[in-house]
Symmetry: C3
Subunit: 267 residues, 3 copies
């Protein structure tokens, strides 16, 4: 029987082979690092947010990545439009609700995207996922003030309530559709000192969703791949500056065989 | 008696301990490097510019950083709103008037933020500070065409006129409230070949203002810390690309004890 | 008789000496890397897109760089305004039609800038150049799906039709005004795995156009310089992350003599 690590390796091989176009409507902070991560992974990134073109752009895409990190109302309208088109076309879409819980504008915008357009997966940190569930708590800024374990039940409840899988990333990542749950134990603490590693993971999930229909397994595969790259990068880095550089090199150099060996995914 | 270098070390230790949220409304060029510098320093950065959320976001923040590098009118309105809220709540705010003097739009916008909202500190290069004083001169783009010495008297006059401390950065930085003046001799010339090192310094000043009420000493501490990181980074860099990476590593690795030893602050 | 490589070296020496201000209205993804590349090259970059200031800013500039990578209608209006002012003042302008051919909005916006304002040079990949010629083909995202050879005739026809030189970059770059054609064989395949290397080349072309009136030779010089930097960087890089860093170091460290020796420009 195929293991989850072997499945992850197959997903990576398919990304490298198919080079899916990943359409990002994302925040200003991470646009460069996200595009570079997608290229390093083997995908083809495009950033396009104009209401005049998002529907046409997403129609060529293998996946759509929405990230509200530096949101304003026109960007949310573009995200809604793109997500609706993606849904109509069967293009998988992933939402990163950056800072949801910190301001009402972020929480409400995330909820609107989920309820009005719908996505294939929500990927957030523990505080963001808690903010989207009913037992919402206040958070501070965009860094999580809660652990994954604290948010695990809320994540399962949220996934059931919105009928959409949820990934909570942290020291050990949790991916759940409310019934089935996968955990990924790859990663390194120094990654939290580089801005946008969560956003980067969301974009890589997009690339994997473009080539694999099982959302939970594609997401676990992507998170194991990014986490393994972080482990390799941290081993040769002197701080967060070099980690950011080495992370891109590692994403580029990790082979499917490396991922089959290094992925720590368990049910 | 405590030296200024010892004070600087204490400020850094407090940033690492308190991890203040620093709310940035800044330019597109430096958002990534600014966020990474704040993380490397020990602070928690957030970028948020929507008029719908800036007041709520700044209410959790330890400091507000305003930077007009890629300004448009809606961004200036958000900066004014956030700065007024910060003032009402006692949250320190720092303004980086990028390119003031190059265009009337930049000069006027900087003046509006100072006069209509008020900030705790203005940090600019010599040309920018000259443009904000009465004896304003024309500059070219965003790189200074004047030396700190040429702008020293204008800086003191400006600080008195607007009742706000002013920091002029260059080969030797000058921080003044019009009466008391501190100078910081840390730094390296190669830093001028990396975009946004001035903006980065402004953001780090924000983190230090969040933990230290003496504005002049907090600013000198932050500039000594960034300058020392630049010195260390330059010593192991082959050019501006590696400097940018090594600067983040140095910001992360410099300890309070290192700063106590390496800070070159004098009255 | 002076060779094209010697001419390239002279152009680089002049950029280093004159430090031209290069005014960029460019996309969010590459703003940081573009500014850093221009600084490494010896030029002085400024990013300014507000309709309130683009005409004043371009009036000080040695060159204007327009890049539609993350376009919206207000940005296109600013580009048109700046390009018209540049033309009136004799400031050279270069257009990078990122993703032209992928969406109608991009193709139409590129055409409007060319026809309504006019530029000194259009620099694109093969798919983008094909999209602007009459025999337009559909492309996918922002990565070329055609080779330079496939687009060579279309590039010559386009240059004649719009009376503007065209540069098509790829494994071997082609620069043509429809009659005369230069080719540049510098570069490295790993550069395609770093986002914005084409945009970076466009910005460097801007810096070279600021100091050299022969558009074809200035463009070939800039592309040889960037390509040589890519070759040097790739030789010491472990992947696209380190390539991005080493590329900036190489741009900074390549001397005019290095370029005279390494430039592979032929008619």
């Amino acid at each position: 029987m195929e293991t989850l690590a072997q499945k992850a390796a197959e997903c990576l091989a398919r990304v490298r082979e198919k080079q899916p176009l990943v359409h990002n409507i994302t925040n200003f902070v991470v646009m460069n690092s996200t595009a570079n991560a997608l290229l390093a992974c083997g995908a083809s990134p495009v950033m396009a947010h104009a209401i005049e073109e998002v529907e046409q752009m997403v129609s060529f895409a293998g996946a759509l990545v929405l990230n509200i990190g530096t949101l304003t109302p026109p960007w949310i309208e573009s995200m809604l439009l793109a997500a609706k088109k993606a849904r109509a076309l069967g293009v998988p879409a992933v939402l990163d609700p950056v800072g949801s819980g910190a301001t009402e504008f972020r929480t409400n915008s995330s909820r609107r995207i989920i309820s009005e357009a719908g996505v294939s997966l929500v990927r957030g940190n523990a505080s963001e996922v808690l903010s989207l569930s009913d037992n919402a708590g206040q958070t501070k800024g965009v860094d999580s003030t809660h652990s994954v374990d604290e948010a695990a039940q809320a994540g399962r409840d949220l996934a059931l309530a919105i009928a959409t899988p949820v990934a909570i990333t942290g020291a050990v990542d949790l991916i759940t559709d409310g019934k089935r749950t996968l955990r990924v134990a790859n990663g390194h603490a120094l990654m939290t000192k580089v801005t946008g590693t969560g956003c980067l993971a969301t974009a890589i999930i997009g690339a994997f969703l473009a080539v694999e229909p099982d959302t939970l397994e594609a997401t676990a595969a992507a998170l194991a791949y990014v986490g393994l790259a972080g482990e390799r990068a941290a081993a040769v880095s002197s701080g967060p500056g070099s980690l950011q550089v080495n992370l891109l090199d590692a994403l580029y150099n990790i082979s499917p065989a490396d991922l089959a060996q290094g992925a720590k995914i368990h049910a």
